[in-house]
Symmetry: C2
Subunit: 88 residues, 2 copies
């Protein structure tokens, strides 16, 4: 399964915690975007950890799931940040 | 076709221009995320407009395309911003 995770986290402390969790499971490809292949089990674990950190009345996390990666096409305008670890 | 567009635009003027373009075609659902159903033709038109605005050596725009929306599942943690026009 391929997933894209985007987020608006209103507090910097929570934001860093969420990113730290997501980096264990996926690739950080834009400041507010993680993506990559992941199993259903690992995704559930990841989301449970994120859910423990965010403030559900203030923060927003979207998880877009595509079962078969062949059904997803990605186009890039400008730079592809790939693994953002190399840039920050 | 369903698309999700995410972006990192390093200059506020360009950022506002990109958002203004995207709002003509899609729903603004997080600060750096637009999504919605769109035809191939309209998407090409939209991307041509965005391409005219961004600085390709600095900015990053990802266009995730799923031909059949049934192949995409979206889960939300926290708040679903829906149409961000109502929030800003």
């Amino acid at each position: 399964m391929y997933v894209i995770i985007t987020y608006d986290i209103t507090d910097d402390k929570r934001l860093n915690k969420v990113r730290k969790i997501l980096r264990k499971y996926l690739y950080w490809t834009q400041l507010s975007t993680f993506e990559g292949e992941i199993s259903e089990g690992k995704l559930s674990k990841c989301m449970a950890e994120v859910n423990n950190v965010i403030e559900i009345k203030e923060d927003s996390v979207y998880v877009y799931k595509v079962e078969n990666p062949k059904n997803l096409e990605k186009n890039v305008l400008g730079i592809e940040k790939g693994h953002i670890d190399n840039f920050l």
